[in-house]
């Protein structure tokens, strides 16, 4: 039941986020609805009642996050024309840029906080 309650909160946040996104587009600020919903959720989580249900729903969704990318991934078959023409070049750009991104992030973070190595303590999750 908690998971369902949490899912309801997530969907409500997303709906409010989508509505807010439309309003912001009026002032030429383009932010995706789910992103605004995420920020909204992070604020609302200060409300204790929401914490356990949202935590359970979020952990359930994020625990299977990679499954959610499968339908889009299979869509690769609809871009065969572009891929047969530019596939190798796109792959080169993808692979090299991903490595550069990984390396730059990791090296900058390590340089800025060499003390990160000990594991940070996680705040306890309140479960009922």
């Amino acid at each position: 039941m908690n998971v369902l309650r949490g899912l309801a909160v997530l969907l409500l946040c997303q709906s409010l986020g989508e509505a807010l996104a439309v309003l912001l587009r009026g002032v030429h600020l383009h932010l995706p609805g789910p992103v605004l919903g995420m920020l909204l959720l992070a604020v609302l989580l200060g409300w204790r009642t929401l914490q356990a249900p949202v935590g359970q729903a979020a952990d359930a969704l994020l625990g299977h996050l990679s499954l959610l990318f499968v339908p889009v991934g299979v869509g690769v078959m609809t871009h065969m024309a572009v891929i047969s023409q530019y596939g190798l070049r796109m792959l080169a750009a993808l692979v090299v840029s991903t490595w550069v991104g990984l390396a730059v992030t990791a090296l900058v973070l390590r340089a800025l906080m060499p003390t990160l190595v000990p594991a940070p303590t996680q705040p306890p999750v309140t479960m009922r």
Partner: protein, 237 residues
């Protein structure tokens, strides 16, 4: 035999087919991944995508027919992005203490990834719309689609490129980090979440709890940063 063909024609045209195929193949791929000791190259998303694309091609099932069922899973990407507020909130303490360092790393890594992708693509002579679809590739697929649309790219292609980026990171990051001598699970996780979003983060979560926690944090930060800054890039391109 004829009855079987008719039954297949019927079943493969209902949404049930796409949904069943996606979940069944994914569960099988996860089992294989676990049995292979979570080897990076046996990534369950990669195996599932290849198997499903092969199945659809062999049975001549058009992608829209498959998607009519798979869309129920696809839809959950939206709530999943919202759910990233949870790891952000849980780690608000770390965010407050190390916010600047984390933000700087996320900005530098995200910008470096986007710039090299577009730069290499441009140098190799990729067309404009492909370049514009490449720019948001380090952002999680649903957000990447929205950004690509604003940039004048092809949303569907941007989503595929984002998924491929996630796979590249999830499969190769271990070797890259080992070569660079980056040992801290937190740093490795944060880099995975920044440069290869959801699929990289999913890999980090399986490997180490700290890596997973920082990957979730990075994922949330990257989504905010990219949504705010990518439109600025549109003006330059």
């Amino acid at each position: 035999m004829n009855d079987f063909v008719q039954l297949w024609v019927y079943l493969s045209a209902t949404p049930l087919f796409g949904l069943t195929a996606t979940i069944t193949v994914y569960v099988a791929a996860q089992a294989l991944y676990a049995r292979l000791g979570q080897a990076p190259w046996a990534n369950p998303v990669l195996i599932t995508v290849l198997a499903l694309a092969g199945l659809l091609t062999l049975t001549r099932t058009p992608y829209p027919t498959y998607f009519s069922g798979a869309q129920f899973i696809h839809f959950l990407l939206g709530p999943a992005v919202v759910a990233l507020g949870w790891p952000l909130w849980q780690r608000r303490q770390q965010l407050r203490q190390r916010g600047l360092a984390l933000l700087a790393a996320a900005l530098a890594g995200g910008a470096a990834a986007a710039a090299t992708a577009v730069g290499i693509g441009w140098a190799l002579g990729l067309p404009q719309d492909v370049l514009r679809s490449l720019a948001p590739k380090s952002v999680t697929a649903p957000v990447a689609m929205g950004i690509a649309e604003q940039l004048g790219g092809i949303p569907a292609l941007a989503a595929v490129l984002a998924v491929l980026t996630g796979l590249v990171g999830a499969i190769s990051a271990k070797y890259l980090f080992d070569a660079l001598g980056i040992a801290s699970p937190a740093v490795r996780g944060f880099a995975l979440g920044t440069a290869s979003h959801g699929i990289g983060a999913a890999r980090a979560m399986q490997v180490h709890p700290d890596a997973g926690a920082y990957a979730g944090l990075a994922l949330g930060l990257q989504v905010i940063i990219a949504s705010l800054l990518m439109p600025a890039l549109a003006a330059i391109l």
